[in-house]
Each structure stands twice: as C-alpha cells, then as structure tokens.
C-alpha cells in the first residue's frame, strides 16, 4: 500500500512537470487553440462525462477535475442505454464515451459534433492501431467488424458517414481498447485450451456460457464455428443472411443438446457463473476474470490461436456544446492522452491510445506485466489498491504486440443487424 502511495505521489509530481511543459508548448504553438481560458471563469465550468461503467470512472473524473481546474462529473450509462439517450435526449449529455460499434450506429443521428483533430495536441502520437488501422509492422489490422479506423474520420463537419482515409476532422478521440477472448477455469478443465472450438466441445456440455449481447455473443460463436472448420465467414463482423442463419441454426442445435449453462448480460453474472463453477469456459470480459481471481479462484483469460475479439472506445462531443464548455471538453480530451489516464486504465488491463505516455505513470513492474507480458517482479495492484496478481504471475497472451497483433475481429454492428437480433432472440428462446 505504502509503495503504491509513493508511486502515485511520484507520478503526480512528474505529471505536473510534464503538463506544465505540454501546456506551455501548446499555448505557445496555439495547439490548444482555445482563446486563453480565464482562471476565474474556468472554475465555474461543470461538464458531464457519460459512458459505460468500464470507462467512465469517478476516480478518473476527480483527477481530471483536480488537474484541469474545472469540474468533470462522471455518469455511468451502459452503451445499450446510452444509444437511445444520444438519439432522444442529446441535450442531457455533453462528453460521451462511445464504444466504436455503438458509434457506428448512432453517429448519423446528427447529434454529435465533429472534433478538430488539430486541436488535439498529441494526435500524431496516438498508436497507429487506433488512428490508422495499422498493425505494428505497418500491415492492415483485421477489418472484420467495426475497426475504430472505419468510424474515425469525416469528410466534412456535417457528414453522415465516415471517410475512408485520414482527414483533419474526427468523430472521437480514441482512449482505450483491448483484446478480449474466453475465460476458463484451468483447475476444472485440467488440460491446455488453445482453440475457440473448445467452447462447443461436447466435453464441456452444460458448462459453457455466452454473453447475451447479440453483436458480441455471435462473434464468440462465429470464432468457434470457424475454428471447428464448419464455415469460413467472408466477414464475421458483417455476416450475410445465410451466414447468420448458419450460425444461429447451429447454436440452436447446440442449445437443444444442452451445451450451454447460461447466457449472461451483466459483468457480475459472468463472475458468479465462473466463481461458482457453474461454467468452465465462457465469453468473458477482462475485469470479470480479475474479479474471479480476486476471490482466490483460478481463472485464465485464455489466448486462442484464432486470435482475439477486440474493441475500442473514444470520447465524442455532443452537438450543442459551445464556447467555454467546448474549450473545456477539448482540454479534457487532451488530458486523457497525457498519461495519467493511460496509467490508470492500464492497471485495469486496458491499453491506452498513447502507450508511451501511459508508461510514465506506471512502475516498471506494472509496465512489464501489463504491456510486455513479463512475469511480475512484485505484486500487481489494481487502480483501487486491490492485489490482483502475485509475484511471478504473467498476463495471458503475452505482450501488447502479441495480443493486439492477433486480432481476428472487432465488436460489431452488422448491416443485417435487425435480422440478426431477431434470430438471436429465437436462439435464446429456443
């Protein structure tokens, strides 16, 4: 605990130094672009920041408020409830955290405003994975599903759709992303698991589960069917009707044969299924795996040879924001890229859009564990101070490069979504 405190103090000092430098440079070069915000006015500004509970976190808002001098009020709303708010009550929102698949869906509501990339001082440092859709070696990342790049750039400020190439105006400032896979109980399985095909292995009959979010659950299933060699999808992230039919029909057959124990919707349901031993292999989110481990129950976020199902999230601005509030929003977006934020979410297992800035706010041990896949040299502590892993433990799937470099599909919303959701409902009630 005391060590933790020290490192925070240290990093805070470092942060103040570096922000001073960055702000100085920014003002000097006109990067922030806002007319100087008067200190006395800025204190009166309150701006709400809304988004899913995994990204909009009170501790982050507190730290941002402290550093920036105005108040950021966090409000957690999951994507499925956020989307209708964006469409029906945009005036109740200011800054929003958008998962890219959700953005693909709601951008054309016209309730956002485009972001001027040139006012984001660190844009050029953002990892090519987010801003260019390129892998570490410069090759294209998997284009299956909603790759952040697909919904990042705009031809014009009032464009309905997205630009195919990089432009100066963007829909969101990317913040966090991760590579998801399946969670397993190694103690109850007792042998190596390497392939998505194991999800539908009759050996685990009655002990598997899928997430009941259609656009995510169907991807885990698709990965499994592909791994079993039963089908090769053109684009798992955007299936044709025939592909949807094939997938759902097979899922229904598996369900009738008793393959599934449950379909979960909330994070804690997946934790309980795993912790109680109801399920030994299932769709899972990284923090849920951690939560099971925190109860002293072995749980592995298993990397699979077929690759990962990735997702990303960024910050968007609602259309009605203007004047000082908009300036404040830009300051906040710039702040999320400056490092403290990256360090915080890094300790939750997510990746930052600018890893090198995040690194300045992580200890060598943390950086080695989370980003490099190295064995921990001392205990690994989450951002709230809970011990997550002991000395010598290693992150599943290895380094940042290995994990992110091995993405097979991105969380998605399909062209045939309506049909897919209808058929998914059929599967659930079969």
């Amino acid at each position: 605990m005391t060590e933790m405190k020290n490192s925070i103090d240290l990093s805070r000092r470092k942060f103040l130094q570096s922000t001073a430098a960055v702000t100085g440079a920014a003002v000097g070069s006109g990067v922030i672009g806002a007319p100087m915000i008067w200190a006395q006015n800025i204190r009166d500004i309150t701006i709400s920041w809304t988004g899913p509970s995994f990204s909009v976190i009170a501790d982050i808002a507190d730290k941002a408020s402290e550093d920036l001098g105005f108040r950021i009020v966090p409000q957690s709303v999951e994507s499925t409830n956020l989307m209708p708010r964006i469409i029906n009550q945009p005036e109740t929102l200011e800054i929003v955290d958008m998962e890219y698949w959700a953005l693909a869906k709601v951008w054309r509501s016209g309730n956002f405003q485009a972001i001027d990339k040139t006012k984001i001082g660190n844009w050029s440092r953002i990892t090519p994975i987010m801003k260019d859709g390129k892998n570490f070696d410069g090759s294209d990342l998997s284009r299956q599903g909603i790759l952040p790049f697909k919904v990042m750039y705009l031809e014009s400020a009032d464009a309905d759709g997205f630009a195919a190439e990089e432009t100066d105006i963007v829909s969101t400032v990317p913040t966090i992303y991760n590579a998801d896979t399946l969670g397993i109980r190694p103690d109850l399985i007792g042998r190596p698991i390497e392939s998505y095909a194991e999800l539908f292995n009759p050996e685990f009959k009655g002990k598997t589960a899928l997430v009941n979010v259609p656009g995510t659950g169907i991807l885990d299933a698709a990965n499994a069917f592909e791994a079993m060699g039963e089908i090769t999808y053109g684009d798992k992230g955007n299936m044709t009707r025939e592909e949807i039919d094939f997938t759902i029909n097979n899922l229904i057959e598996l369900k009738r044969a008793g393959q599934f124990r449950a379909f979960w919707l909330s994070f804690d349901e997946s934790v309980n299924l795993m912790a109680a031993g109801e399920v030994v292999i299932q769709s899972m989110w990284a923090p849920a795996v951690t939560a099971v481990k925190a109860r002293g129950i072995p749980c592995v976020y298993q990397s699979m040879k077929e690759g990962y199902r990735a997702w990303g999230s960024g910050i968007g601005l609602m259309g009605h924001l203007e004047g000082m509030k908009r300036d404040a929003a830009y300051e906040f977006m710039n702040w999320t890229l400056s490092g403290w934020h990256g360090g915080f979410i890094g300790r939750q297992g997510y990746y930052s859009s600018i890893p090198e800035h995040a690194r300045e706010f992580m200890t060598d041990n943390e950086w080695g564990y989370w980003y490099e896949g190295q064995p921990a040299t001392e205990q690994i502590v989450d951002p709230y101070g809970t011990v997550m892993d002991g000395e010598g433990a290693q992150r599943d799937g290895g380094s940042f490069q290995d994990r992110i470099g091995n993405i097979s599909v991105w969380n998605t919303v399909m062209d045939e979504e309506r049909y897919m959701v209808q058929r998914w409902n059929e599967f659930i009630s079969a």
């Binding site: 124990r261 919707l265 309506r418 998914w424």
Partner: protein, 291 residues
C-alpha cells in the same frame, strides 16, 4: 350512469364529478397507450423513426414463430405460477381464518408473511442462486446425505428456477386478497352447513370456495399481470436460457427498434386484457366487493 340522473343540471354535475378521474386516466393511461399504438404503426431504420404508416411491424411480428413461442412460454409460466400460488394462498388463508380464531394472532401471522417483502425483490430472487447452484447448499446437502452422487443441474438456470422464484415472489399477492374475502364469510353460514349435515369437503366446495372467489380472482389478476410483465426474473433465473415476451421487447429496445417493441407491447396488452377479462367473467368483482 347518466340515465339514472334526473334533470339536465344534475347531468352536468355528474360529468364534473367524473372529470378529475377521467382527466387523470386520459393523461396517464390513455395518452401513453395512444402513443404506443401510433408508434407501432411507424417505420424505423434503427435510428430515426419515420412517421409513415406501415403494417410491417405487425406483419413481421405475427408471421414470426418466435412471437408465438414467446407468448406460449410466458403464458405457461403465468399459468403454472397461478395454479401453485392459488393453492398455497388458499391453504394459508384457510389456516389463518378458520384455524387461528384469535384476531390478534391472525393479523400477526399475516404480517409474518410480509417479512420477506421488507427486502427488495431482486435480493429475494438472487438469494436462490447460491441455494440452488451446482455447488449450492441444496446440492451439497443431498450429496452429503447420499441421495445422489451427481449435483442436480435442473435446479438452477432452468424453467424450474424461474417458476420457483415467481411462486416465492408472488404468493403473498394471492394470500392477502383470499384472506380478505375469507375473513368476510359469516361463521354462522359454516355452522348452518354443518348443522344441515354437510361434510368438511362439502363445506369447502359449496360454501368456502364460492365465497372466496373474489379474492382468488383479484389475486389471479395480480399474479398474471406480474408474471406477464416480467423480464428480470426470467432472465436471471433461467440464466438467459429462456425468454419472455418482455425480455424480447427489451432486446428490441436495446437495439433501438422501438416501433417493433411497441407492436409487441400492444399485443401483450391485448393478451393480458383478454386474460384479465376472462377472470372477470368468472367473477363479478364489482358486485362482490360491494357486498
């Protein structure tokens, strides 16, 4: 009603008397349902709603076998829950009214039935999970007793779990109205029946059950509407293995298909209204309550 009034001026005053309730009902029941009806005839592309008349939402719903499967499951849940809660509710009320003669004890025991309601529905529901699970208390107990060597899987994340939870959550809604109507039965009636030579069963069938009908009907309305409107219990206790009409509707809303959800809602209202009017056909609650 107005036919009973005599003279023009009292006609006006009758309207004025009805006005507050009528306005209230129109504002808080009529307008929302009206909106729902309109919405169910409009089009959407998943984001925008177009105010163009279409029958597509209904056509799609009525032509999908899924809709019938969902209604079948939901009605099945409602029917089983109704039967079991009626039996339990009747027995509990019978015991309270005819065996516990002391009024203080009656009220005390009835209050005892409400204790579970001091915590939230969700907590009462979730507390079943550690009890019924594979490694749960029940399975551990029967394995320890040597009754089985394999945990019983069907206890949790199954239709059994859903129905068990419904019964647990909603039995009180049966007990209270049945107790209320049973308590109104004049003890002299039962004595008269006994004097006339009726057996215990005959008294039950010919006196007590007919006179408890109002309570049973009221309780049935509660139970049926509660089960038909639920999506949370079915989702959590079946582990997402089952779906109800409302959980499918929730799925549509989550994916922003409001008009389709509205069409489904209208159909649900129609089915529930049909069920409730069926219950009311058996028992004239108004006449009985005035008794």
């Amino acid at each position: 009603m107005s036919s009973r009034s005599s003279g023009g001026s009292s006609g006006l005053s009758a309207y004025l008397q009805v006005a507050p309730l009528a306005l209230f009902t129109i504002a808080f029941v009529g307008v929302p349902i009206g909106t729902l009806v309109l919405l169910s005839f409009w089009q959407t592309d998943g984001i925008f709603i177009y105010r163009e008349f279409t029958l597509d939402n209904y056509r799609q719903m009525l032509s999908s076998p899924l809709t019938y499967a969902l209604f079948f499951t939901t009605i099945k849940f409602a029917a089983i829950t109704l039967i079991v809660t009626t039996i339990i509710g009747f027995i509990c009320s019978y015991f309270l009214v005819f065996h516990v003669r002391n009024l203080k004890w009656q009220i005390g025991l009835l209050l005892l039935c409400t204790i579970p309601f001091w915590t939230s529905n969700v907590i009462r529901m979730i507390s079943w999970i550690p009890f019924l699970g594979r490694e749960g208390i029940f399975n551990q107990t029967i394995i320890a007793m040597g009754l089985t060597n394999q945990p019983l899987d069907f206890l949790l994340y199954s239709e059994f779990a859903v129905i068990l939870t419904y019964i647990h959550l909603y039995t009180l809604f049966m007990i209270v109205p049945i107790f209320n109507s049973m308590a109104k039965i004049n003890p002299n009636l039962i004595e008269a029946a006994r004097d006339a030579g009726a057996s215990g069963w005959q008294i039950l069938y010919t006196v007590i059950i007919p006179l408890s009908k109002t309570g049973i009907a009221l309780g049935s309305i509660f139970v049926v509407t509660l089960v038909m409107a639920d999506f949370f219990v079915v989702r959590v206790m079946s582990g997402g293995q089952s779906a109800s009409v409302v959980s499918a509707m929730k799925n549509q809303i989550d994916n922003l298909f409001y008009p389709q959800a509205a069409a489904m809602a209208i159909m649900l209202i129609a089915v529930v209204a049909l069920l409730v009017s069926g219950i009311l056909r058996v028992v004239d609650i108004r006449a009985e309550l005035a008794r």
